[in-house]
């Protein structure tokens, strides 16, 4: 059927012999398809064409291999957040998706790779969805991670499609599903191999299978009497995970459904209004900012071609073993070295647990286990592209080790240490080329903490910093370059905060109260529990390591507890007591009336941040914020410590510091760097 077709910048249209209109999305100038205003405007014109020409069917698919559509255009969020107009934009999209849904012909979304946020919302407005059976297919509505919720009609359509009991948890957590799981939940109709993608769409549009009707459970859960009860339960579950004043968006999802569930038009209307409101929250602004920062950390150096295939990790302790497992999970061949097999065996067990959890399918787990090669004979050194040392924190041992590694490793292999306390320049003293050594400092647990500090010294050659950065990106971690100095960035900033918490505890504030205050501020875990989890011996040694250069006073109690062997969670006793690894919290703790608890902890963080920035440990305040959020979980909705400081006002902070300095001493003296913070 020859038909005159408009030329689009981002869409390629094709009408096949049977009269089906195939709409291929290939967003110009981008590696990933996103729903920018321009893409949507062009799509509106396509829908108009379809309304007039009445094709036999309409298929939406991607011409990009990496995915269908990754979501809305985040770059367009920022002006909307600043100048308003979100509601209008959203209602416009609603109207467009309504028209797509109202087409007289059947419509189908062919999903490969990413189908997230706005991408899924577009797919949900089609009659059928067929997904590619591939681990790279990810389907979900992650909007809450940006402080908003689905707003292109996805909230209503997902509720309508799979019912609130399934849909709401998906939207509240923002998690994405693989194709098979999405099929199981009823989000997609078919899961097919690549060879069947086009054919399955043709057959679906020809046979036009009837749509599944809403189940009994779905109808019951939407009943006016049931909804409030169910919403109340879900809200109580949600409150365990997030606070409404910190993260309003998930609560808004529940509100919309509770008020309007079952009435699709009303849900749509409320969805648009609610998401427009969410757009303007500080939480959303902070989270969008962090998303952009994350993009910055992920952005590759176009001039550098570095791709590691083989990683050799020395030291199979908790850090080394977990680094090795993570690298193997990311597809690399990994040799894991330690002195004897008995030190490696526990790491292999932990790796297997990780692989099972992440990969699920047996054959993928087997492949990952095959890639992780225990190597007590250190055979991997000569073959590795990256060598990471994670042995005991002893300078002499490390010096000798790297001297040996330098003579045996490939000339272009990265030599990196995971030390958290020994200066790079000390470790590199015996190297022929001290400029080759870089720090690649992971955080515990490796599989969860996205941040990696790429540590360099004045001697480090830039090429090795760049390669280490590229390596971290290759294994899906977020690298931040940090100048080598005691504690680097994250531990340096955390230490005064943890020590202040111990000081509060010594002054009689209960651990429970200290942690509660910190969590109310937005920390993922209170400082006392964090110290217990990290291990008090480690906290002590990190603090001692920094004490000389940074003039920190170490609380006596901490030393005493370590002397007594109360090391925290691992010895079942620290500030808290633990039963089978589970923390025993006292709910009826005596509440101290001591003032300034929150400010004392937070101000020490902020003051140290400014010190780090002033000393040039990181390039700029954005990277510092990113480091603290992705390395410690510092209240993401606050956008990072310095973002928070600026929002609160530098004058306010300096006044608070002055007040605290008068009350508690010079550790609160405002750092001179505050003068440069704008």
């Amino acid at each position: 059927m020859a038909e005159k077709q408009m030329k689009y910048k981002n869409w390629l249209l094709e009408t096949d012999a049977s009269g089906v209109l195939w709409c291929h999305l290939d967003v110009a100038g981008k590696s990933t398809n996103i729903l920018s205003t321009e893409v949507l405007e062009e799509f509106q014109s396509i829908v108009e064409t379809a309304e007039n020409s009445a094709p036999v069917g309409l298929v939406i698919m991607s011409r990009k291999d990496n995915g269908f559509i990754a979501g809305a255009n985040i770059d367009e969020f920022i002006p909307l957040q600043e100048s308003g107009g979100a509601l209008e934009h959203i209602q416009h999209v609603h109207a467009l998706f309504d028209r797509l849904e109202a087409l007289s012909c059947p419509t189908l979304a062919l999903i490969n790779g990413f189908c997230l946020g706005g991408g899924l919302e577009l797919a949900l407005a089609c009659r059928y969805r067929v997904a590619l059976d591939d681990p790279k297919t990810r389907i979900g509505l992650p909007e809450v991670m940006l402080g908003i919720h689905p707003g292109f009609g996805g909230l209503m359509r997902l509720l309508r499609l799979i019912g609130p009991i399934q849909a709401i948890p998906l939207m509240l957590t923002g998690r994405s599903l693989d194709a098979r799981k999405a099929k199981k939940l009823g989000i997609v109709d078919k899961v097919v191999a690549h060879r069947q993608l086009r054919r399955s769409a043709e057959i679906m549009l020809e046979q036009r299978p009837s749509l599944k009707k809403a189940g009994v459970l779905q109808n019951i859960s939407n009943l006016p009497l049931v909804r409030p009860l169910l919403a109340k339960y879900m809200r109580s579950q949600l409150e365990k995970k997030a606070r409404q004043d910190h993260y309003p968006a998930p609560f808004a999802i529940l509100d919309v459904w509770e008020k309007h569930g079952g009435d699709d038009r009303a849900v749509l209307k409320a969805e648009a209004e609610s998401v427009a409101e969410m757009f303007e929250t500080d939480t959303s602004k902070s989270l969008v900012r962090l998303f952009k920062l994350q993009d910055r950390l992920k952005s590759k150096n176009p001039e550098l071609e570095f791709k590691a295939e083989h990683v050799h990790v020395i030291g199979a302790g908790v850090m080394g073993g977990d680094i090795a497992a993570w690298c193997a999970l990311q597809g690399m061949t990994v040799t894991l070295q330690d002195r004897e097999p008995k030190f490696i065996a526990p790491a292999i067990k932990r790796a297997h647990t990780l692989f099972k959890r992440k990969l699920k399918q047996t054959r993928l787990v087997t492949a990952a286990m095959d890639r992780l090669i225990p190597d007590h004979k250190a055979l991997g050194v000569e073959k590795a592209d990256v060598i990471i040392e994670a042995i005991v924190e002893n300078a002499d041992t490390k010096i000798a080790l790297f001297k040996d590694l330098e003579s045996r490793a490939k000339k272009d292999a990265i030599l990196a240490t995971n030390t958290s306390s020994i200066p790079l320049d000390e470790i590199s003293t015996q190297l022929n080329n001290p400029g080759r050594l870089a720090g690649i400092h992971f955080f515990n647990p490796v599989a969860k903490m996205q941040l990696v500090e790429v540590v360099y010294s004045a001697k480090t050659d830039k090429q090795w910093i760049d390669k280490a950065t590229a390596f971290c990106q290759q294994i899906s971690r977020l690298p931040v370059s940090v100048l080598s100095s005691p504690g680097f960035l994250v531990n340096r900033i955390l230490t005064p905060y943890l020590l202040e918490a111990v000081a509060l505890w010594e002054e009689g504030v209960s651990a429970e109260q200290i942690d509660k205050v910190a969590k109310n501020f937005g920390m993922p875990m209170g400082p006392v529990e964090l110290a217990d989890t990290v291990g008090l011996d480690i906290c002590l040694s990190v603090s001692q390591n920094m004490a000389d250069t940074l003039n920190i006073k170490i609380p006596e109690q901490l030393q005493q507890m370590v002397n007594k062997g109360n090391l925290g969670k691992k010895s079942s006793r620290g500030f808290y007591e633990y039963e089978k690894g589970k923390l025993k919290k006292n709910k009826n703790y005596v509440k101290s009336s001591l003032p300034d608890i929150e400010d004392r902890m937070v101000m020490r963080i902020l003051n140290e941040c400014v010190a780090c920035l002033h000393e040039g440990l990181v390039e700029d305040s954005d990277l510092l914020d990113a480091g603290m959020v992705f390395g410690t979980g510092f209240a993401p909705f606050r956008g990072g410590p310095l973002h928070y400081a600026k929002a609160r006002g530098v004058e306010n902070i300096r006044a608070t510091l002055k007040d605290l300095e008068d009350k508690y001493g010079e550790r609160f003296r405002a750092h001179e760097g505050w003068q440069q913070v704008k």
Partner: protein, 433 residues
């Protein structure tokens, strides 16, 4: 195999090899499947090579009982080892000599110029031998699945009888000769009867196997073993069937297991049921030069022979005799011997056979007795009685170990031989320059 003539410029070199520890079966499936065993030893071996896994011309793996999900286990393992999609791989099965067959097949392809560098080995996870449905049960299931209507289904169900569920134990079936109806232990009893080998001789031989293995372990002479790790935080670094405290008195207490009433072959003087894998890397002269490979030994000659299935345990003398005649070797010309210890009775039978003029004349086509093999040179670091016999793996293990024995003793010539259920024998002559 025709003798490999040095002058022809064609030679087959053994450049390296490795094996898993042999892990005794403990009545339940062990921690590793056959492919896991082969991958574990193989990747450690490959880790120390200066060439890539994709440089192999082919991978050949001997295996007698791969799991149903390990069809052409050689290919499964080659892919898991990272040899890449373009390296062909296959599986050979010559029962107890499958591991030796893989080496022979590799050597033949190298001699023919079809291959330059081959990974060859053998594996079996005996503890994973399946329990099977009987033919009667399979027939019932087939009828049940075929029944479409409810009455037909009910009729099929009515024919079910609980005894149908009695499993067929694949391991026992595999160790029984279907042609002559004897299990492998009974063939050893036949040999003992023929040569008048008594229980004490068998047990003495078994004790020696254990003590020699224990000494080899203590003195660190088994560096062919690569440590293996399971998913539960355990590691395996030695052959765990060994009994350092084995004694004739202890073994005397065991009851015969094959001829239960009047036999002499016990679990104590038989090889153990074990899981394990062994690999060798074989190379042509060209490949040795190209990759600058070290040479562990040279494969000079090999021989396969067949005999009455009832006396399969004498297979080694049937294979070694023609090989030695061809090479113009007398017993004393061989520095070390490996004869796989399927049963003490059978190894002792081999020694007796060569001493027996009648047997040598009638069965081995010799004019007189071949001579006496010095037990001090035989299985010097113990054998399958102590460390076990993962059927498909043993043939590769004894060749690999022979190379190490020659190297450790700075000796020249070693002969490795194995008996094969069904009535065959295989032998390989290795030399060090």
């Amino acid at each position: 195999m025709a003798e490999v003539k040095k002058s022809s410029g064609k030679a087959v070199y053994i450049v390296d090899g490795a094996r898993t520890p042999y892990i005794r079966a403990r009545g339940v499936p062990g921690p590793f499947h056959a492919a896991d065993l082969a991958v574990s030893a193989g990747r450690s071996l490959l880790a120390r090579q200066n060439f890539a896994a994709s440089d192999f011309s082919e991978v050949i793996l001997g295996s007698t009982m791969p799991s149903p999900d390990e069809a052409n286990i050689g290919r499964v393992v080659a892919l898991r080892l990272g040899c890449g999609e373009q390296v062909p791989a296959w599986t050979v099965m010559r029962n107890c000599a499958s591991g030796m067959q893989s080496i022979d097949s590799a050597a033949r392809n190298i001699l023919a110029g079809r291959s330059e560098l081959v990974l060859a080995g053998g594996v079996d996870a005996m503890s994973h031998a399946p329990l099977l449905f009987s033919t009667a049960m399979a027939t019932w299931l087939g009828n049940f699945y075929a029944a479409r209507s409810l009455p037909a289904k009910l009729q099929a169900i009515s024919k079910f009888r609980p005894p149908l569920l009695k499993p067929v134990i694949a391991l026992l079936q595999g160790l029984t000769d279907p042609v002559v109806g004897l299990n492998m232990g009974q063939t050893a009893e036949e040999i003992a009867y023929h040569f008048g080998i008594d229980r004490l001789a068998m047990d003495t031989f078994a004790v020696q196997s254990h003590l020699r293995l224990a000494a080899a372990q203590a003195e660190g002479r088994l560096n062919e073993i690569e440590v293996m790790y399971d998913h539960k935080g355990k590691f395996y670094d030695h052959d765990d069937g060994v009994r350092q405290d084995s004694s004739v008195e202890k073994l005397a207490k065991l009851k015969p297991v094959f001829d239960r009433q009047f036999g002499m072959v016990t679990a104590g003087n038989s090889s153990q049921i074990t899981d394990g894998a062994a690999w060798l890397i074989l190379a042509s002269e060209k490949a040795v030069k190209k990759h600058k490979l070290p040479v562990l030994g040279r494969l000079i000659d090999s021989e396969w022979a067949a005999l009455r299935p009832e006396e399969m345990g004498l297979g080694p003398v049937h294979a070694m005799t023609p090989l030695m005649k061809r090479q113009k070797l007398k017993i004393d010309d061989v520095d070390f011997w490996e004869i796989n210890e399927a049963f003490a009775a059978q190894v002792l039978g081999c020694i007796e056979a060569w001493k027996d003029a009648k047997y040598c004349r009638e069965q081995l086509h010799l004019r007189s007795a071949f001579g006496e093999l010095d037990q001090a040179k035989l299985n010097v670091d113990g054998g399958a009685i102590a460390l076990g016999h993962p059927v498909g793996s043993s043939g590769a293990r004894i060749v690999l170990h022979m190379c190490h024995v020659l190297e450790q003793n700075q000796a020249k010539r070693g002969l490795a031989s194995i008996c094969i259920g069904g009535g065959q024998g295989g032998a390989m002559l290795i030399e060090r320059e």
